[in-house]
Amino acid sequence: MAVTGSDEREVALLKAFNEKQRGRASRIAYNAGFWYALTGVVGFLLLWHITTDVLTLPRFNFLPTPLDIFTEWTSTEPKYGVSLFTPIYYEHILVSVRRVMLAFFIAVAAGVPLGILLGWSRTFYNFVFPIVELLRPIPPLAWVPFAVLILPGVEASVVLVTLLAAFFATVLNTLLGVWSINDDYFRAAHCLGYRRIDVLTRIIIPGAMPFVFTGLQIAMGVAWFSLVGGEMIAGRSGLGFLIFDAYMQVALPNIVIGMITLGVLGYLSSAAIRRVGSWLMAWQEKGRAGQ
């Protein structure tokens, strides 16, 4: 007993030591990584500044300069009307976010059940999947003229265009998720006399979850992507419209302000989905750690 006790202590000590080493190493690596990253970003900004502001190279002189953008963005009285301190900026953000959220939730509410059904019933799959495959290759933005003609109002068409790509991404990934479930689970369920409905609720739905969340992340990305296109081509408000309008009015800094805002929002929304996903699937993480 004493021997095992000391062994255990030794193992614990070794573990702690290793962890300490690894922790220190990763901290250093992290810091070095941080400095490299900073160098890269600052280098890029400098290059941008030099080409547009200092040297004003041909063609580059048409681009907004980083300093102009910064002063415009943080000014309380912006020259072109959009900055951190103007309500119109937040209105554009709000409109775009609302459209994306609406489109995303419709796409998920329709796409996840459809994907699950496709994976659950072979017959349903045989009948319906060819239709999905028929419509899926058409890029969402090709729907813009069609949507504008058949739907009343710009709002509905922008939302439709935004949700299409998200819908197909959700359906496909949910289906893949069902297919990725280990066959042994189905065999075990049959042996234990599960009804079909039990197979659905106890195996298919939890089993497909990891892929569903991958699908949701992709869906969020493509939703933002199509939203910008829809707003540029057909919108009267929102960030895509802000960018294109800024181009029309030659309000150059606003173009980049819109781009960066879109980037940040896109990043935040996929980060939020990742967060929710890992929270909902804590059991999976635990399972992995236990292996």
Partner: protein, 266 residues
């Protein structure tokens, strides 16, 4: 027996077995139901703006015969493949360099991560300002759309290579060149082709929007022009053509992938 006839007989076997399987007929029935519902909806008097399948079938040949239809395919295709080609080349060079040097990766990867979430279409105004012609603008946009997914997938591919392969290569005294040719390249290829397939889909999407917003020809412009002239048949034909073009491109990508990775062919 020559290889050609063998292939033909194989094709025949595959098709005849497909025709005999219920799956094929169920799928056909599903699609037929889709069109039937659409047609019946028109008869009842719903969705009067959308032409019925019968009207489409009657109207589309006429639209196709119109001068310049096939030229639109060529124009859009040229833009897609030029932008895509440049993106693939640059992404492969940068990706491999980043995969082989941790320092370079630490330097530029965060910068790319900051730029990646910006939707490709948001670059359109800047691109119009910067590039002297609309042709170059659209090529640049397709480039932006394709570059990030390809780069990201190459990096993932290189990262996923089993470190034991690298260690084995190193302990067998492999040079940097051999490491690249024998370990990195075959290891990253599957992931690279995933990236290329994703990217070709995105480039079609981007080129359509760019043509709608600022083009004067191409399939996207054709669709937009049909919208302007309220030709619903033209719009649907445009959508179908774009879908087909995208499908054909992904199919080509898959074919090239199978050729490049014979060990993965099923």
């Amino acid at each position: 027996m020559t290889a050609g006839s063998e292939k033909a007989s194989l094709l025949w076997v595959r098709w005849s077995s497909r025709l005999r399987s219920p799956v094929f007929w169920q799928g056909l029935l599903g699609i037929a139901t889709f069109f039937a519902v659409w047609q019946i909806a028109r008869w009842i008097g719903w969705m009067t703006i959308i032409p019925s399948p019968v009207e489409l079938a009657a109207g589309i040949p006429e639209e196709i015969e119109r001068a310049g239809y096939w030229q639109n395919w060529v124009d859009s295709g040229r833009r897609v493949f030029t932008g895509f080609g440049i993106a693939a080349l640059l992404a492969i060079v940068i990706g491999v360099a980043m995969g082989m040097s941790n320092r370079l990766r630490a330097l530029i990867f965060p910068l790319f991560e900051i730029m990646r979430p910006i939707p490709p279409l948001a670059w359109l105004p800047l691109a119009i300002l910067f590039w002297p012609s609309s042709e170059l603008t659209m090529i640049f946009l397709t480039f932006i759309g394709a570059f990030f997914p390809i780069l990201l997938n190459i990096l993932v591919g290189i990262e996923k290579i089993d470190p034991r392969y690298k260690q084995a290569a190193l302990s067998l005294g492999s040079s940097r060149g051999a490491m690249f040719r024998r370990v990195m390249m075959p290891g990253a290829l599957p992931s690279l082709f995933t990236g290329l397939t994703i990217a070709i889909g995105i480039t079609w999407e981007v080129v359509i929007a760019a043509e709608m917003a600022s083009g004067t020809n191409g399939l996207g412009y054709m669709t937009w022009d049909s919208y302007m002239t309220h030709s619903m048949v033209g719009i649907v034909l445009g959508m179908l053509s774009i879908g087909l073009a995208g499908m054909a491109s992904s199919w080509v990508m898959r074919l090239v992938g199978e050729k490049a990775m014979p060990w993965r062919r099923r």
